[in-house]
């Protein structure tokens, strides 16, 4: 027989399944708290009704340690440090989770991390096949970073992207129209629909796409004397020289309403007015659904960039609620993050307590996902006190990123990095969320388990030199390593396992410490959001 199934493996799988086939009677240490789900805000109320209707038991609320790590990774793409972990775990304030959420939303890494996320959606890339060029990438990233850092109202954020004019090197948001492989009016319309409405236009009737494209038929891209500089602006006659045709005078909004384009106004403005209205059926919905997707790995409408009538929301009432909150708060994105992260739903453990397979699509437990490429390498570097070399060979002169820069701050998918490539960094070619792949492959596993790249960090990284040379007090060393790598204290069970391993000596050797660091950094708990 080809590929015989190893019996031992199956037996092990059976044992695990059998042990937990029923609802675990007790919280699982160290992941669960002993707290049952109870409604904390409107999101919980709405989802709890769904669970009741479906016969789903939600997971327990996660432990403080799990919450800490989760919310750091989800909101700022950064692992808590040893002292941050210790401080939070020892904090006795019952409102400490709420406080931490607020704290993180105000950290500079919040803007770093969400600049990266938005950079995926906006396809920020210096080179092939999106050719923004490095200077423009920098201008675009600067604008994006400061918009997110200042929590610019979302309607204004999008208006700037859609209606700005000027040099691609000076006015960041004009690069929205340049970051596409197809700069024809239709190509632009497709990108606008995907980015701000979450809609794929591939199946649209021709008339509908052309009607929307008319709004983008008067954009001009004019080169200057500066190498690779371009002025993006409104030019009523743009395109007509190339096509030998007068630009269309009539346009149609995606909801079917037709309009005569005014001669004295940039049609991009006309479109933006329609798009960012609170009444627009796509705009706010797409924004909040995308944030939900970012935090849960699954949209209420899934995939989040495939909103259409025959792809319904699992809980439309939750989306409506969040949409109304976005509008009511003056398009305050942080308000939405705050609502979601403070919900009991977000704070559920990843250990399901429901036998209903629908539990996952109704968010009745937190879904495990492998860390994003950039977040993973940053976490490894943070723990080991090391850094990576990032650079780009195109165009000349080369782009060299300063030593110590974090991967979440790179801001350009053209920067060369074998690690980021291997771990599924999105190429930012088309801007779909599916471009980012967080599935674990054998090559990735080889790299983490046994590459000289990772082993050198573990064996020589200055950030862990203290551990490799402190032999006298095993308990203290182990505790600090757990806090540094897994952001929690070791459990008594783990301590027993380690004691057995090191039974022969009361002191730790360098080799034992290295192996422990290696094991913790290769654990599922470290490699995954959970």
């Amino acid at each position: 027989m080809r590929n015989p199934v190893p019996i031992g493996f199956l037996l092990a799988a059976l044992t695990v399944t059998a042990t937990f086939a029923a609802i675990p009677p007790e919280p699982v240490e160290p992941f669960d708290s002993n707290q049952e789900f109870s409604v904390r805000n409107r999101i919980d109320e709405l989802l709890a009704a769904r669970w009741k209707e479906q016969g789903i038991t939600p997971a327990l609320i996660c432990s403080d340690a799990v919450f800490l790590r989760r919310v750091y990774l989800d909101l700022i793409g950064t692992l808590p440090t040893e002292s941050e972990a210790r401080k939070f775990l020892e904090d006795r304030d019952p409102r400490k989770r709420e406080r931490l959420i607020d704290e993180l939303l105000n950290r500079p890494e919040y803007a770093d991390y969400w600049t990266m996320r938005w950079g995926d959606v906006l396809r920020i890339k210096a080179e092939f096949p999106i050719n923004l060029w490095p200077n423009a990438v920098q201008a675009y990233n600067r604008w994006l970073y400061s918009s997110l850092a200042r929590n610019k109202p979302y309607d204004q954020f999008v208006r700037e992207l859609l209606t700005s004019s000027g040099s691609n090197f000076r006015v960041g948001p004009v690069n929205f129209y340049r970051a596409t492989q197809d700069r024809s009016p239709k190509g632009i319309a497709q990108v606008v629909a995907l980015t701000f409405m979450g809609v794929r236009t591939d199946q649209w009737p021709r008339e509908k796409l052309e009607g929307m494209a008319a709004f983008f038929s008067q954009i001009s891209f004019k080169p200057t004397m500066e190498w690779k500089e371009e002025i993006v602006s409104w030019d009523p006659y743009a395109g007509s020289a190339a096509t030998q045709q007068a630009p269309p005078r009539e346009a149609m909004f995606p909801d079917g309403v037709k309009i005569q384009l005014p001669a004295d106004r940039d049609p991009r403005q006309v479109f933006a007015d329609w798009l960012i209205s609170p009444k627009n059926p796509w705009f706010a919905k797409n924004a909040v659904n995308r944030i939900w997707y970012w935090l849960f790995g699954r949209g209420i409408i899934h995939e989040p960039d495939d909103i259409r009538d025959d792809n319904p929301a699992v809980a439309p009432e939750v989306l409506s609620y969040l949409e109304s909150e976005l509008v009511r708060s003056g398009w305050d994105l942080k308000h939405i993050y705050r609502l979601i992260c403070n919900s009991a739903t977000y704070q559920l453990s990843c250990i399901s307590r429901s036998q209903n397979p629908q539990a996952s699509i109704y968010f009745a437990y937190y879904p495990m996902r492998r860390l994003d490429a950039e977040v993973l390498i940053d976490a490894i570097c943070q723990i080991t006190g090391t850094s990576e070399e990032y650079w780009s060979m195109v165009p000349e002169p080369y782009t060299i990123i300063p030593q110590g820069e974090r991967a979440i701050r790179l801001g350009d998918a053209s920067i060369t990095s074998a690690f980021l490539e291997l771990f599924g960094r999105p190429p930012r070619d088309v801007g779909l969320v599916s471009e980012r792949t967080n599935r674990m492959t054998a090559s990735q596993r080889l790299h983490l388990l046994n590459s000289s790249h990772i082993l050198r960090k573990i064996e020589e990284g200055p950030g862990l030199e203290w551990a490799r040379t402190s032999y006298a007090n095993p308990r203290q060393t182990v505790t600090r390593l757990y806090l540094t790598i897994l952001s929690r204290y070791p459990t008594e069970k783990e301590w027993q396992i380690l004691k057995q391993t090191t039974a022969k000596s009361s002191r730790l050797s360098r080799e034992m410490v290295v192996d422990l660091i290696w094991a913790l950094m290769n654990s599922t708990e470290f490699l995954y959001r959970h």
């Binding site: 590929n3 096949p129 591939d202 699509i361 054998a442 192996d515 094991a519």
Partner: protein, 464 residues
């Protein structure tokens, strides 16, 4: 309602994914065998050695070729100084290379430094009429290796990823080594896997095969003994609480499977395949003790172990400056490595089933830039360039097409990148007209329809 109906298996280019988590009781009720079968796809058998799999895969046809070695001359080698010499064009075109040498096939002459290749011209054919007209590295690299122009919102996979997709999966592929290897670094400027996703990216060895040991990243780790590898693995299994608790989660199944494959390579003997020091010293020397020469040797060892596609990413051909200084250094190394590879494959009876193809993203300007700062340089040139093909059903001893007197334009039988790629697919038993599933759900043709405006000179029937 049956349990199976509750579980949606989503098929995409990356293989099946469970869209919903199996509840523990459901898994128990169905039996863990059922759950695994559902998760693991068509065979119901745990494909421990599968590097990638997709149950929607169309069947391949009977094939002459089983494996491909691609020698990617990154930067664009000068066609006039390699396989398309033009001694009559004068020194502004041929520079110091005025006396091409005859090969063992009458009428075929190549650059005078390619002495070893000249002895075996009956084993390969030259295409002197490659053309696409693109002079930019990225676009041309993409075009030559995907057969497509960029810009239509689909990012296509390179030939290697397509071959890995069709030929690198069980049951056809049983190897422990990933089916698609790049020696030693990935190209980096474009994503080889395109829309097929990271599972079909090449495994990049890193390291340098000309050094001992050849430290293949992740597989060969000097300083970590087998005993320590094993004790580490045990420690990890003992300490990985989340994995123990979440045993039936698809994510856990995925990491477990990836880990088993990884350890097969780390602890098993198949990692030895990468080690050229297992070869007799005279064989190593025959290929040349350079990175390129030893990469050719490792590529041959990979083919012997059933690997489907090996790219040797051979840098250093972007000779804007001092082209002839670089050629005097590079051509002998190239000649020795490639000729030894072809001869060795033939001696071992592997050439009939192994395609070797060799070219860069374009040629170089026929007219030499003598002036400073180029000092005898050649620039990018997409209108005409050469490719070498051998084995796997390609005939040897032929020349396809021709350029004009100065090597500036194709005057006979233009061959477009799609034609060469489609011909290789044909020999590999992959129908060039077949379609593969894009993650967004629609089907994409491997090779564009000729009527869709794609330029094509048709398959290379004359040498197949």
């Amino acid at each position: 309602m049956s349990d199976v109906a509750n579980t949606h298996v989503v098929l995409n280019a990356e293989g099946p994914q469970l869209s919903t988590r199996l509840s523990r009781r459901a898994a128990l009720k169905r039996g863990i065998f059922g759950a695994l079968a559902l998760y693991l796809g068509r065979s119901g058998v745990l494909p421990r050695h599968a590097w990638a799999f997709d149950p929607t895969l169309p069947a391949t046809k009977p094939a002459k070729a089983k494996a491909v070695i691609q020698i990617w001359m990154w930067g664009g080698p000068p066609h006039l100084d390699t396989f398309d010499p033009k001694p009559e064009a004068g020194s502004d075109y041929c520079g110091p290379f005025t006396s091409p040498i005859a090969t063992n096939v009458s009428g075929i002459r190549i650059n005078e430094l390619l002495t070893e290749l000249a002895k075996i011209a009956d084993k390969y054919s030259l295409i002197r009429s490659m053309t696409h007209g693109v002079n930019a590295h990225e676009t041309a690299s993409y075009l030559v290796q995907t057969g497509r122009m960029p810009g239509d919102r689909i990012v296509y996979p390179a030939v290697g990823a397509v071959v890995a997709y069709f030929k690198g999966q069980p049951p056809e592929y049983e190897g422990l080594i990933p089916p698609y290897i790049v020696l030693t670094e990935p190209q980096g400027r474009f994503s080889e896997a395109g829309f097929l996703g990271p599972r079909f990216k090449p495994f990049a060895t890193g390291g340098d095969p000309a050094r001992t040991p050849f430290t293949v990243e992740g597989i060969v780790t000097p300083g970590v003994t087998v005993a320590r590898q094993k004790s580490r693995r045990e420690l990890l299994q003992n300490l990985d609480l989340l994995r123990q608790v979440m045993g039936d989660d698809p994510q856990i199944q995925e990491i477990k499977q990836a880990e088993e494959q990884a350890y097969d390579l780390i602890l098993g003997t198949s990692g030895k395949a990468f080690d050229p020091s297992e070869e007799p010293q005279e064989v190593r020397e025959k290929y040349g003790t350079t990175t390129f020469g030893q990469s050719c040797l490792v590529a041959r060892r990979m083919v012997e172990r059933g690997v489907r596609y090996i790219t040797i990413n051979y840098k250093g051909w972007d000779t804007h400056k001092e082209n002839f200084v670089v050629m005097r250094r590079k051509l002998p190394e190239f000649d020795r490595g490639l000729a030894s590879l072809i001869q060795d494959l033939a001696d071992r009876g592997l050439l009939d089933s192994t395609i070797v193809w060799c070219c860069g993203e374009f040629g170089r300007t026929p007219k030499i830039a003598w002036e400073a700062p180029w000092n005898g340089g050649r620039h990018h040139y997409g209108p005409a360039f050469s490719a070498l093909v051998a084995g796997g059903g390609f005939k040897g001893g032929h020349v396809v097409g021709a350029t004009d007197r100065t090597g500036s334009e194709v005057k006979d039988r233009p061959v477009h990148p799609t034609d060469l790629i489609a011909s290789m697919y044909e020999l590999l038993g992959i129908d060039p007209g077949t379609t593969i599933r894009h993650p967004q759900g629609y089907m994409v043709r491997l090779i564009p329809e000729p009527e869709n405006g794609a330029t094509s000179g048709g398959l290379l029937r004359e040498i197949m």
